[in-house]
């Protein structure tokens, strides 16, 4: 009747089998689909609990990280980018296009003419570390309004100067986050002009999401109806290539 050894094996082996089984399970397309649907559930829940304009926490100067590390691309390293750095981004232009009434090509000086928002916020990397820094730049929403964004637009796509696998880094937001007051195009950091390590001359700050959404080295912003024609269709480099969540609010 009793088979203690077998039961013991089942009980303790069960935990190990479950962990190993997870890798098998996720190879099944249906299981993968269910698991990946967690992203939409988290997004739906968060959006339901969160006021559209709810602000990420902002901090005081004395609460800032003494040293804000760089990560991802530290320098795009292409001849084109090196040329932009060489003449202090005089020739750099931000192209705002796609589903807009008035396509724009903005110099750094023109971007500086938009009213700037200054915010001391926390940057959370998907890997787990956090750093608090001060950012300065115009609200993305104001730039999109200046370009007369079309009512057909649902997403905003960012194209960058740094290359991943030979292709420019790209990311995207929906209009809820694009028009959020803390979503800014930062040209200043910690009281200075943005440096190369942190994404000069212009980077995105989207404070209610993780670091990989904060595209650096911005070159172009395009309003689009859907993300299916962008990259492999999931809306961002990491989303397309390593299964990161497009909604990075968690």
């Amino acid at each position: 009747m009793s088979a203690p050894i077998r039961r013991r094996t089942i009980l303790t082996g069960g935990a190990g089998l479950l962990l190993a089984g997870c890798d098998r399970i996720i190879e099944q397309p249906t299981a993968r689909k269910i698991l990946f649907a967690g992203e939409d559930m988290q997004k739906g829940l968060q959006r339901a609990l969160m006021d559209r304009g709810a602000l990420a926490p902002e901090y005081r100067r004395d609460q800032m990280s003494p040293y804000f590390r760089t990560n991802g691309t530290r320098d795009p390293g292409t001849p084109e980018y090196a040329a932009l750095v060489a003449n202090r981004f005089q020739d750099w232009r931000l192209k705002v296009g796609g589903l807009v009434g008035t396509p724009l090509s903005l110099s750094l000086r023109q971007i500086g003419e938009f009213p700037a928002r200054r915010q001391i916020t926390r940057h959370d990397c998907v890997e787990g570390w956090s750093a608090i820094g001060e950012w300065m730049g115009p609200m993305l929403g104001n730039v999109l309004k200046a370009a007369n964004i079309s009512s057909r637009a649902r997403y905003v796509v960012f194209t960058c100067a740094d290359l991943y696998g030979g292709q420019p880094y790209y990311e995207s937001l929906d209009l809820i986050d694009a028009f959020h007051p803390q979503t800014i195009l930062a040209w200043g950091m910690n009281g200075r002009m943005l440096d190369v390590g942190h994404g000069a001359p212009l980077r995105l700050r989207v404070e209610r999401q993780l670091g990989y959404k904060h595209a650096k080295y911005l070159m172009a912003i395009d309003a689009v109806e859907n993300l299916s024609n962008i990259g492999l269709g999931k809306g961002g480099y990491w989303e397309d290539h390593v299964d990161y969540d497009w909604y990075a609010g968690i």
Binding site: L19, A56, P57, R69, V126, W129, D243, D245
Partner: protein, 244 residues
């Protein structure tokens, strides 16, 4: 025969060998859902830890800041997935975080509605008397985990550990997990404030997970010592044989 309500003061003695109903369906369903969720969350959590195995106190913390703990690299046999993949670890973790959270919520409601918590987990003053604690400790050391006079009841250490897990460790794991979400930081800023910042929340999240892992190991060992077959059956069908 065993269907009598457990609150009756004069119950017929349930002698050794009798099969009684031990666990209600609410407890049984939640137990297994939660067991799967906890194991997947621990495995995927260790995978996530490998991405940045340093823990800090306060609001910020990165490579150049002081870390109070440098964690080891957790090996593949204990992480989900076995081969390092932060994106897939996160997919498992964030899906089963919902299973854990809403499962616990449902169990809390069920446990209160069926009076399981009030009836079986309430720690009475007489159980905390030194003599009672000594007696329970003595029984544990003799590997006897039930009270002959009331075999269905949980012993004191069982109640304490279940109460700690149900009402402290699991809710704290969930709350500190919520604190790690930048979206939820905007929605519920008070969570970060009571936990002392995101990196503190991350540290507490890891410590709480360690407590849950320790509980799981001790729990499994005790199930084996108490009779794995009988204990497993009682958590599946609810039927439990009173030990000799």
């Amino acid at each position: 025969m065993e269907a009598g309500t457990p609150t009756e003061p004069e119950r017929p003695r349930k002698g050794p060998g009798t099969v009684i109903r031990r666990h209600g369906w609410v407890t049984r369903v939640w137990h297994w859902v939660n067991a799967v969720a906890v194991l997947i969350l621990l495995g995927s959590g260790l995978g996530i830890s490998n991405a940045h195995p340093r823990l800090y106190w306060g609001r910020y913390g990165a490579n150049f800041d002081h870390a109070w703990a440098s964690l080891p690299h957790f090996p593949g046999w204990i992480t989900i997935p076995a081969r390092y993949n932060l994106a897939i670890s996160r997919r498992w973790h964030l899906f089963f975080a919902l299973v854990l959270g809403f499962g616990l919520l449902a169990y809390m409601i069920g446990g209160l509605a069926t009076r399981h918590f009030q009836r079986d987990l309430r720690i009475r003053a007489r159980e905390l008397r030194a003599a009672a604690i000594r007696a329970d400790l003595g029984r544990h050391l003799a590997f006897r985990f039930h009270d002959e006079k009331d075999p269905r009841a949980y012993n004191l250490f069982q109640k304490l550990s279940y109460v700690l897990v149900l009402f402290v460790a699991l809710p704290l794991a969930i709350l500190t997990g919520i604190a790690l979400s930048p979206g939820m930081n905007a929605a519920w800023p008070w969570v970060l404030e009571i936990l002392g910042g995101r990196q503190s929340a991350r540290s507490i999240h890891f410590i709480t997970a360690s407590v849950l892992a320790l509980f799981t190991i001790v729990h499994l060992v005790l199930v084996i010592l108490a009779g794995a077959g009988n204990e497993m059956r009682s958590m599946i069908t609810g039927r439990w044989r009173v030990p000799e």
